[in-house]
């Protein structure tokens, strides 16, 4: 590659990656704020129902992703990559901005959750069309022998999108008032809208950059020769020769990649916060550090895949994940377990407060117990129950919430474990764009690669935190039982991938 070509490819990678990163950011702020959104848009009378509704909305976002892959993939193979992934960006940015504008349930009633659900579905649809377009676009501009390296930059965007979403949420949460507690209260009330509204600015910048981009050279060539597909859906899924590759991509690669991706980032965060009871800020900064240290490895593995092939890097990533998940998550559990620590008994603080409930003779009793440990951990337990004025009437089960703030050494130990989990993600995800691109012909590439990617990543992966949490409610004795889902799926994918995938399927696939 000469200097001009090198400069050109970096412009293409920069413009494509920025848009994709913003789309991931848009998509993840919703998931990261699930509890806050539940309070705003779903009836508060039943908090569990509210949270489940949000999670269902979250899942709905993932479920429509494959449909987005079909709709926009088809469009991308018919009219071109550039205009299609410009359209997905507008759709995503618009939906995200509007979620930030929807009035709460208290203001407009059931219209609020309905609007949020519709906008969330549109987000999923847009994301379904974005990734395949960006990966195809960059791959079709890359030289053959460096396709893994150049497309791996696109692969960093999903994780960096999560990184930025977590960072902006934490910053906003702590900058709305000088008093930390008041700032958090303001954030939960209206401040959560800021990350959504901010998306509009980011999207406008990205649209401006993308408008200046040229169509992919390979697609332009096909179009000039009149060889573009007339029916990409039919050619992708109704022809056995291509369908068998779509199925292979799904069951031999993307299915395992999806569960490893979501276990390493989303389920890890959920596990640290909800199972280990580490407080909101620490559970998020742990992920932020892990992402920061691990992200360069997307490029390392992508680049290495140009030399040794894509297959074994991905398979090895799944294998080490399957073998070590149980151990790593048990380590997180043990590190945060108060039973393994020595309490500084003299420092224990117990603060009971009783407030009269409005228009009632009953009172609300809140007991906050702060416990300090020798290794620096602090645990705050808040127990709330009702004191009834009627004699003999008692609260059956008080509401208890626990938030642990870990000492430095334990904090960094968990950051180290999260780094390992995300390191596995970089192995399975770094080379996969190049792998998928090389499986399918140019004329139906956008459609063919988008569907297995979004079923693998979106459905199998996206449902990981949900299904894993569900397992913990069915099998209550083992706190790490949720890992069975990613372990079983990744094992199956590992076996299928090892058996059927070629290490370097197409070293001479057509490129620029």
């Amino acid at each position: 590659m000469n200097n001009n070509e090198t400069k050109g490819i970096w412009k293409i990678i920069g413009a494509s990656s920025l848009g994709t990163l913003i789309e991931w950011y848009d998509f993840y702020i919703f998931g990261s704020l699930a509890t806050v959104i539940a309070n705003q848009f779903f009836p508060k009378t039943n908090p569990t129902a509210a949270l489940l509704s949000t999670l269902a909305t979250f899942a709905a976002g993932f479920i429509v992703r494959p449909f987005g892959a079909l709709v926009f993939g088809r469009l991308g193979d018919l009219i071109g990559r550039k205009h299609t992934f410009l359209l997905t960006l507008v759709l995503m940015g618009g939906s995200t901005f509007l979620i930030g504008c929807v009035p709460s349930y208290e203001s407009i009633g059931f219209l609020a959750p309905i609007l949020v659900l519709i906008l969330r579905l549109l987000q999923g649809l847009a994301l379904g069309g974005e990734y395949g377009g960006a990966a195809t676009y960059v791959a079709e501009h890359s030289p053959n022998h460096r396709r893994g390296y150049f497309t791996s930059w696109i692969q960093t965007t999903a994780t960096l999108g999560l990184f930025i979403s977590l960072g902006i949420i934490l910053l906003t949460r702590h900058s709305l008032d000088a008093d930390a507690a008041k700032s958090i209260a303001k954030f939960n009330d209206w401040g959560w809208r800021i990350p959504f509204l901010l998306s509009a600015v980011l999207v406008v910048v990205s649209i401006y950059i993308r408008l200046k981009m040229q169509e992919s050279p390979l697609f332009s060539k096909l179009k000039a020769e009149g060889k573009t597909s007339t029916n990409p859906l039919k050619e992708s899924f109704a022809h056995k020769a291509n369908l068998k590759m779509v199925l292979l991509a799904l069951f031999g690669a993307t299915m395992g990649q999806g569960v490893v991706w979501y276990t390493g980032q989303f389920y890890a965060q959920s596990f640290i916060e909800n199972v280990c009871k580490v407080d909101f800020d620490q559970s998020r900064t742990m992920i932020i550090w892990g992402i920061l240290f691990a992200t360069p490895f997307f490029v390392v593995w992508g680049s290495l895949s140009d030399k040794v092939g894509r297959k074994w890097i991905m398979i090895l990533g799944m294998l080490v994940a399957v073998v070590s998940y149980k151990y790593l998550f048990t380590q997180i559990l043990n590190t945060t377990d108060a039973k393994t620590k020595v309490e500084i008994v003299d420092k224990r603080e117990v603060k009971p407060t009783v407030t009269l409930i409005k228009n009632s003779t009953d009172s609300l009793r809140k007991v906050v117990t702060k416990t300090y440990y020798e290794d620096g951990m602090k645990m705050v337990e808040t127990k709330t129950d009702t004191v009834y004025s009627a004699i003999g009437k008692k609260t059956i089960k008080p509401v208890v919430s626990v938030a642990k703030t870990l000492g430095d050494s334990d904090y960094w130990k968990i950051v180290g474990i999260v780094f390992i989990l995300i390191f596995y993600v970089t192995m399975v995800y770094g080379p996969i764009a190049a792998f998928l691109v090389e499986l399918f012909p140019t004329k139906i590439r956008y459609t063919s690669m988008s569907l297995p990617y979004h079923i693998g990543n979106g459905v199998f992966g996206g449902l990981t935190p949900f299904i894993a949490t569900l397992f913990t409610t069915i099998y209550t004795n083992d706190k790490t039982v949720g890992l069975m889902y990613p372990i079983v799926i990744a094992t199956l994918c590992c076996v299928i991938g090892s058996l059927y995938i070629r290490n370097r399927i197409d070293p001479e696939v057509e490129g620029v």
């Binding site: 569990t48 129902a49 489940l52 509704s53 269902a56 899942a59 709905a60 479920i63 039919k234 050619e235 109704a238 022809h239 056995k240 020769a241 291509n242 369908l243 068998k244 590759m245 199925l247 292979l248 799904l250 069951f251 499986l439 399918f440 012909p441 140019t442 004329k443 079923i455 459905v459 449902l463 299904i467 569900l470 069915i474 076996v495 299928i496 058996l499 059927y500 995938i501 070629r502 399927i505 197409d506 001479e508 696939v509 057509e510």
Partner: protein, 87 residues
């Protein structure tokens, strides 16, 4: 190796119905435990999503058994010149 690929196809074909059975049984027991609309919606969504995926998995097994994965395309030309016979 090709023999192994083909025989493994039988395992994938068998795993499909087993997965459906497991999903159905878990859905039934969970809905019976908590017969509220949330549980029904949740399991309804799971079954709706995973049915077509399981059918795809059985098809994958069938293709493997038929020997369709004995040879995987090796070059760009081979990919672009797919035999475009409909299914």
């Amino acid at each position: 190796m090709n023999k192994l690929k083909r025989y493994a196809g039988i395992i994938w074909i068998v795993l499909g119905p087993l997965a459906i059975h497991y999903l159905m049984a878990t859905a039934e027991s969970e809905i019976a435990k908590k017969p509220v609309i949330d549980t029904q919606i949740q399991w309804g969504v799971f079954l709706t999503i995973f049915y077509p995926i399981v059918i795809g998995f059985i098809l994958f097994g069938l293709y493997a058994l038929e020997g369709n994965y004995d040879h995987i395309p090796e070059s760009s030309a081979e990919i672009d010149d797919y035999d475009v016979k409909p299914l």
